[in-house]
Amino acid sequence: MWTILTAVFVIGIVWGGVIIFLKKAITFEKNKKEEIE
């Protein structure tokens, strides 16, 4: 139980953080490209 909770907490924040920020970065880059075009 605690093992799963810890894994969800750690992986959720660390890998979740990467996914969220990467998604944001891709969106911003896409918007900037569209603006230029």
């Binding site: 605690w2 093992t3 810890t6 750690v10 992986i11 660390v14 953080g17 990467v18 920020f21 970065a25």
Partner: protein
Amino acid sequence: MQQKEFFTSRWGLILSTLGIAVGTGNIWRFSRIVAQNGGGSFLIPWVIFLLIWSVPLIIAEFAIGKSTRLSPIGAIAKTAGKKYAWMGAFVAFVSTAIMFYYSVVAGWCIRYFVSSFSGDLFNTTNHLNYWKDFSESGLPIVYHLIAMAIGGFVIYKGVVKGIEKANRFLVSSLLLILIILLIRAVTLPNAIEGIKYLFTPKLEYILDYKVWLNALTQNAWDTGAGWGLIMTYAIYMKKKEDIALNAALIGFGNNSVSLIAGITIFSTVFALSSTDAMMQISQSGPANTGLTFVYLPLLFSKMSDSTLVNTIFASLFFLALSFAALTSLFSMIELATKTIIDFGLSRKKGILIVASTGFVLGIPSAVNMQFFINQDWVWGVGLILSGAFIAFALIKYGVDKFRTDIINGFGSDIKIGRWYNLVIKILVPIQVIILLLWWLISSTSWDPEWWNPFHTENLGTCLAQWFIVLTSFILLNKTFVNSVLKKEN
């Protein structure tokens, strides 16, 4: 001095900066520290310190580099005031001193890649002797030269054709190799036991202050936050480039790599050797050499009945390790070179000076493990002081002004809130004081002659070497300001 060369895109900047952060420490030090500090119990504070140490300091470095376009001496002088140029010099010196012996480490990794790829590594069953024969021969000097030559060549090629191009290839390949190794490791029989160990928290460890201090130390040492390296690469980011989002990606990306490496190593170790697995991981030799160069080759030799398969996976592992070491080494060479350029020398001359001095001053670490351990200890702890100087620069400038004008200024994709003021003004200084006191006071317990500056790893050697460097730089402060800032004007 007008900045002429920039990273071509956000992705080039991110991959290059990730190359700084992801080093050998993510792969070997992380696993050892996790094993020593109760697995899952360590990971909880490790995540918390990512948020209150690594990411805020990476943001600070990006912002200082982007706004000043100068190497640490000029950057700190411009941000904190001319009186504090010596702090920037200390930041630059610490990373350069680390470069001298880190090139040796990169050389070890390259050597083990060559050995595993050629099959030579599996011609022996005694991997401890194999490591000793290598480390006590003249070969580490040769491989140190190779690492320094590769680094010097990449930096010579410039920001776009050198740093960015190399990192795009090396960091992408490193991530791909780590994912391949991860898939192989988690599919080994009994790998689940390693994963369980990695994520199972133990209450007695969570309540132990040493686990928290080790988690903070790991973040301070393996993200590259507070080293001045990210500050140096930020010089080459375009004005329209964002700070906060890129910094967050680097911090989280770096810790993600550590997690991938940790799962891979724990799964492999538990799958192939259940009896002495934990002892082998936690009782590693100097610079974690025991785990990486003695125990892991043994594990790879037991991975399957096919020598070819074992050779492929061992080669991939040491190739990943070499890539991780080299991409971090590039940034150290670039920092030292850019510092020389700021004094008015050409890039070509700067690289020549850095690469040749780096090779010569790295030789003592290549031939003498005691010297290596001493330098790793003195400048490893010195990095905490570097982080403190960077936070001090922001405090002197005014954290709120710095946040609104620079971090949230032109080009920012996301805005940083007031929480950042609290972190830089209060939490980072508290963490610095606690870490420094803990490491220095702890060192008195493992050496009865803790005051002796000629011992390898104690308080005396640390304070003596810091004193010499800091006093010299404080005395040279005016010269630094005149040379760097006047040249810029």
